[in-house]
């Protein structure tokens, strides 16, 4: 990291709040965030998930002699959400046909490629950051891509019946001990879960089980029960790392999208 700063030092020092210390977080003697500290709790005694999060991908440096630069950090689940499942995701015949078409077209119908909103749970794996803002009655998840938001109601309301489908659906959360269980329905019928085009549809019930292992780490078990797209319910667990001492940075995709033109010739 020191070498990285040496390569890029003056630029880092003058960037807006990219390196501004987050107040009120546990720190080590050297001033670095203490990521192994216990998970914080709300005044009600529940785990507090508030903070900025990014896929827990190790940072790696590429070095050429004394000059080092940091590699990009990307979650493999961004390509295939079921990458850690021994047999992969249990696609239905309908899904297989969808995937076949999507592969044959090189993934060019991916809504994300066309700057559509970051749909959860896929959004957890994208290369932009999320910020959780937790209050007693609601968790809000902000996402840098297209400056998007998602609401998770914690006030005990039921999921809606036959809701108008949306990109992120409708989410409620309840506590099971220290685990926040988020249930979602009302997802649009044409959503993708990853770059290879794994579908999720209007028939889905998605359950995300959030555990804050310690200050710096959150585990999310993503369980999908979608009989249109999958022959049986399945679940995967992803890890998110807390990102401290920085800020959210907006990334408005339609600002200068130029990749889709490359598909058209």
């Amino acid at each position: 990291m020191l070498l990285f700063v040496l390569v890029t030092g003056p630029a880092v020092a003058r960037a807006q709040w990219l390196n501004y210390p987050t107040p009120g977080i546990p720190r080590l003697a050297n001033g670095a965030p203490n990521l192994k500290a216990p998970a914080p709790r709300t005044t009600e005694g529940k785990p507090d998930f508030s903070g900025m999060w990014f896929a827990n991908v190790p940072s790696r440096d590429f070095c050429k002699e004394k000059d080092c630069i940091q590699e990009e950090r990307m979650a493999r689940e961004q390509i295939n959400l079921g990458i850690k499942l021994k047999d992969g995701l249990p696609y239905t015949e309908w899904s297989k046909e969808q995937m076949k078409t999507r592969r044959a077209n090189g993934g060019r119908e991916d809504p994300h490629a066309y700057c559509m909103p970051p749909n959860f749970p896929r959004a957890w794996t994208l290369p932009q950051h999320s910020r959780i803002v937790q209050t007693p009655g609601m968790m809000v998840v902000l996402h840098e891509f297209n400056a998007a938001y998602r609401e998770v109601y914690l006030d005990g309301r039921p999921l809606p019946v036959n809701p108008n489908p949306t990109w992120n659906g409708y989410s409620t959360g309840h506590w099971e001990g220290d685990t926040l269980v988020i249930e979602t329905n009302g997802i649009r019928d044409d959503m993708w879960l990853d770059i290879q085009g794994s579908p999720v549809t209007e028939s889905a019930r998605v359950t995300e089980r959030l555990k804050r292992v310690n200050f710096g780490l959150m585990q999310i078990e993503i369980a999908v029960n979608d009989p249109k797209a999958y022959t049986k319910p399945w679940s995967v667990t992803i890890e998110m790392a807390l990102i401290a001492d920085t800020q959210m940075l907006e990334e408005i995709c339609m600002d200068n999208e130029k990749d889709t033109r490359l598909y058209k010739k």
């Binding site: 390569v7 630029a11 090189g106 490359l262």
Partner: protein, 140 residues
């Protein structure tokens, strides 16, 4: 040397590519990820905008003519988190860029490695998602 990939293998076989490459918000099937271009020249323009920064580089081709190459980079947000600013590259800066060419456009590529004129690395893509993944499955 360029080797063509079928859309299927380019799409699913990304995990087998061991070279670093800049990652995008989509499948990258518009690029020949096993192909390689190397361009050395002067930056003519920098587009510091989402969802991807682009740099344009004038290079001399085999016939002595000037060709203006377009290179896709990650988003400015991603680059800023790795120490770049909008001023890190400016028109006139000399760079050497290695990348994967667009399949259908002869002077467009996605950058995976950039050095300055002294050879100091300025940018590299990722190898992390490209490592072999034995348990990875194609859809059944």
């Amino acid at each position: 040397m360029r080797t063509r990939l079928s859309p299927l293998s380019a799409f699913v076989g990304l995990c087998l590519v061991l070279v670093p490459s800049a990652w995008a918000h989509h499948s990258q099937s518009e690029y020949d990820l096993r192909g390689k271009v190397e361009v050395e020249g002067a930056v003519t323009k920098v587009e510091w905008r989402s969802p991807h920064a682009w740099i344009y580089v004038d290079a001399i081709n085999d016939k002595g003519g000037t060709v203006n190459w377009s290179f896709e980079l990650p988003s400015p947000v991603t680059l800023m988190r790795r120490g770049w600013t909008r001023d890190s590259l400016k028109p006139g800066d000399r760079v050497k860029v290695t990348g994967a060419p667009a399949k259908n456009f002869p002077t467009i590529a996605i950058a995976n490695f950039i050095t300055d004129s002294s050879g100091k690395p300025l940018f590299t893509g990722t190898t992390q998602i490209h490592e072999p993944e034995p348990e990875s499955k194609e859809p059944r």
